[in-house]
Structures are given as structure tokens and as C-alpha cells.
């Protein structure tokens, strides 16, 4: 299958406009803009997937990192503006919205988190709004920003940070470390290790307990990040596949337009839901870390 409309895609070796196969188109859309050390020792942007792969761990996905920080900063800016001149009187339009979100998060935290920790509610708010904004990038038609970047000379651009496992794991592992920290802080090291080894089968079955509880423990951050990543990745993939239709003649292009709209509406539900699930599970994990026994 050939996608003739996607001719703008830049390839280091083929600077001229040409047609790409559907496979190439998809691969291009899924390639991060990676900055790292090239085999010859210089630091540069990877100009093709093979180079990016060769850079290994000591490299950074500039695009997703940029959008992640940009959206998080946007969240902080928008909410900070309200926090600066917040009034207990009649709230204005934007303050009203911010208050609604804050109250919603506050209620979720109150419902699920029974201990006292001033960090959990702000963390839940940050996660909810930040992840929502990151997911929201999925609704921008898949070609717009990469096309713009291409005009500016940037070869690859992935605009949805939550489709990058680095981003989702970055958050879930941090939360994992925080839950470990609070577990040890609240229950003591002995209490925490006891929870890991002495149940559910009692002292004699220590290895079995450790295996079970260990898997249970590890599965939390993994499932937390993979759930978000998987949903967003799949959603983006469908947008990309729909975008392929645009180059297949008038009828398919119109069909593609309709499909894109339908999927965007449905996706709106998913991105909100995923942000909410991530937040809620974080609250629950933090709550479990604070519980003396579970």
C-alpha cells in the first residue's frame, strides 16, 4: 500500500519529496526525536531510527520531554494564576473551573486516602491535569505538528508524551519509590519486610510469600504505566491508520475524516478516563503504603 500524500516526510538520505509506503509512514510517526551520543563520539540528534537505537540509554527523547514539560508548566501556570488571586468571594470563570477540578481531586483523595499526608492531594491534582493535557495532544490531527516541525527542519516529532513509555514509567516508578519510602517510614523497615514475607501463608512459607508479594508489589508500577501507555499508544496508532486513508482517493478520504471525528470523540472519553485512573490508582497505592496492615 502506498500513501502518496505523505510526501513531506524527511529522510536523511532522500531529501527530495517522494512517496512513502504505509509502513514507513507509520514508523516515521512512531519515531522519537532522540538526542544522544553518536558512535563517533559526538552529541547530536539521531537522523534515523537505527542511529537512535544505537544511542542506548544515554540519550533523551527531546520531543516527548519537551511536550511533557511544556504541558506540565502550562498546567502550573494556569492554576498558579488562580492561586495567586484566589478569592473566597464570587469566583470568576477560570477560577470556577479550577475550583471544580481541585474539589473533584480533593474528594477523590478524601474518599480513598485515609491517612494524613499533605503531598498526596497536590500530587493527584498534578497527575490528573498533567496526564489529561498530555493525552489531549492525541486529538491534534497526527500530521499537523510533525508537518510543522518538518518545515522547521526537525526530522521526527512525537507530540503525545503519554505514548512514550519513558514518560509513563518515569511517573509510575517515581510513585513506586514514594510508596516504598512511605511504607518504610510508616511501618518501619521490619514492618514493610514483614508485609512482604510473612503473609499471606505464614512464616513457614516465606519464599512463597515473598514471591507472591514481590510480584504484587512490582506489578503496581508496571501496570500503572503500561495501562496509560497502552491506551494512548493504541489510540494514536488508530489515528495514524485513519490518516492513511486520506491519501486513498476522495471516498476513502471522506470516510477517514468521519472516522477521525468519531474516534476523536470516543478518545476524549478515554483520555479523561486514563488520567482519572492513573490518579486514582496513585492515591490508592499511596494509601496502601500508609496502612499498617492490609
Amino acid at each position: 500500500m502506498v500513501a502518496p500524500c505523505t510526501t513531506y516526510l524527511l529522510n536523511e538520505n532522500k531529501m527530495t519529496q517522494e512517496t512513502l509506503t504505509a509502513g514507513e509512514y507509520i514508523k516515521h510517526h512512531l519515531q522519537n526525536l532522540v538526542y544522544g551520543r553518536l558512535p563517533d563520539g559526538t552529541w547530536a540528534f539521531a537522523s534515523n531510527p537505527e542511529q537512535a537505537k544505537a544511542m542506548g540509554f544515554m540519550s533523551i527523547n527531546v520531543d516527548t520531554m519537551f511536550f511533557s514539560i511544556f504541558l506540565g508548566a502550562l498546567f502550573l501556570f494556569l492554576f498558579r494564576r488562580v492561586a495567586v488571586r484566589v478569592t473566597s468571594g464570587v469566583p470568576g470563570g477560570w477560577q470556577n473551573f479550577v475550583e471544580t477540578v481541585v474539589e473533584f481531586v480533593d474528594k477523590s483523595v478524601r474518599d480513598s486516602f485515609t491517612s494524613k499526608n499533605n503531598m498526596v492531594a497536590p500530587m493527584a491534582l498534578t497527575l490528573f491535569v498533567w496526564i489529561f493535557l498530555m493525552n489531549l495532544m492525541d486529538l491534534i490531527p497526527v500530521d499537523w505538528l510533525p508537518r510543522l516541525a518538518h518545515e522547521l527542519g526537525i526530522p521526527y516529532l512525537r507530540v503525545v508524551p503519554s505514548t512514550d513509555p519513558n514518560i509513563t514509567f518515569g511517573m509510575s516508578l517515581t510513585i513506586f519509590v514514594l510508596t516504598l519510602y512511605y511504607s518504610v517510614k510508616v511501618k518501619g523497615l521490619g514492618g514493610f519486610l514483614g508485609e512482604l514475607t510473612l503473609q499471606p501463608f505464614g512464616k513457614l512459607a516465606l519464599p512463597a510469600n515473598l514471591l507472591l508479594e514481590g510480584v504484587n508489589l512490582i506489578s503496581k508500577p508496571v501496570s500503572l504505566s503500561l495501562r496509560l501507555f497502552g491506551n494512548m499508544y493504541a489510540g494514536e496508532m488508530i489515528f495514524i491508520l485513519i490518516a492513511l486513508l486520506f491519501s486513498q482517493g476522495v471516498i476513502l478520504a471522506v470516510t477517514g475524516g468521519v472516522l477521525q471525528w468519531v474516534w476523536a470523540v470516543f478518545h476524549l472519553l478515554i483520555i479523561t478516563l486514563q488520567a482519572f485512573i492513573f490518579m486514582t490508582l496513585t492515591i490508592v497505592y499511596m494509601d496502601m503504603a500508609h496502612q499498617e496492615h492490609h
Binding site: 532522540v34 527523547n61 506540565g72 498546567f75 484566589v86 500530587m123 491534582l125 511517573m171
Partner: protein, 156 residues
């Protein structure tokens, strides 16, 4: 889709954002919400108090009105009683005055009658003296016979 430094970057970014939110965003907004909650609670309590006070005031006003009505009725009754009294007194005074005037008139009439009778008596005495003179054909000396004449006058 390699795992790379982005993971660390995102972790640091996440912690910084959470810290910022915890320090500069969450507390003022939640404080404002709490303050508004208190204000609303105060407002509702004040409204309740106002309602209660209104009820009290209405009851007090009704009581006052009742008192005033009773007082007015009492005053009217007193006034009526007083008016009756005044009329009665006036009646009595008029009656007494009438009596007095009647008595005075009677006394005057009596006096007039006495006076008339006296005058009549003197005229009769004079007539009698004159008659006697004529009968005796001689002049009676008024000075010498004054005693006699006066006695006669008194007898008449």
C-alpha cells in the same frame, strides 16, 4: 521507543511539578474553598438567626398591638364613664341652680308681697285717719296723736 534518560528526566520533572503544586497551588486554592465554605455556613446561620429574630419581632409586635388595643378600649371606657359622670354632675348642678333660683324668686315674691302689704297697710291707715278726721270734723293733731295713730296703723 527505547528506554533512555527521558525516564529520569520525567521523574525529576514530575517531582518538581508536584513540589510546586504542593507549595504554591494547592494550599491557597483549598484555603479559599474552606474559607468560602465557612462564609456560606456563617451566612446560613445568620439567615436562620434573622428569621428567628423576625419571628420574635412579629410576635412582639402582635403583643404590642394587642396591648395597645386593650389600652385604647380601657381609655374609651374610662372616657365614657367620665362623660357620664360629667353629664350627671352637670344635671345635678343645673337642678341645684334651678332650686336655688326658685327659692330666691319665692323669697323675692314674698318680699314684694310684704312690701305691698305694708304699703297697703299704710295707705289704709292714712285712709282710716282721714276717715276719722272727717268723722270727727276736727283736725287731729298728727304730732299729738302720733302714738295713737301708729298704734292704729299697727293694728290694721
Amino acid at each position: 521507543m527505547n528506554i533512555n534518560l527521558t525516564l529520569i528526566g520525567q521523574s525529576i520533572t514530575f517531582l518538581v511539578f508536584v513540589w510546586f503544586c504542593m507549595k504554591f497551588i494547592w494550599p491557597p486554592i483549598v484555603a479559599a474553598l474552606e474559607k468560602r465554605r465557612l462564609q456560606i455556613a456563617d451566612g446560613l446561620a445568620a439567615a436562620d438567626r434573622g428569621k428567628h429574630e423576625l419571628e420574635l419581632a412579629a410576635r412582639k409586635a402582635a403583643d404590642g398591638l394587642k396591648d395597645a388595643k386593650a389600652q385604647a378600649a380601657e381609655i374609651v371606657a374610662q372616657a365614657e364613664k367620665r362623660a357620664g359622670q360629667i353629664i350627671e354632675e352637670a344635671k345635678q348642678a343645673a337642678h341645684a341652680e334651678g332650686e336655688r333660683q326658685l327659692v330666691a324668686a319665692k323669697a323675692e315674691i314674698e318680699q314684694e308681697a310684704n312690701r305691698a302689704r305694708e304699703a297697703l297697710r299704710e295707705q289704709v291707715a292714712a285712709l282710716a285717719v282721714a276717715g276719722a278726721e272727717k268723722i270727727l270734723r276736727r283736725e287731729v293733731n298728727a304730732q299729738t296723736h302720733a302714738d295713737l295713730l301708729n298704734q292704729l296703723k299697727a293694728e290694721l
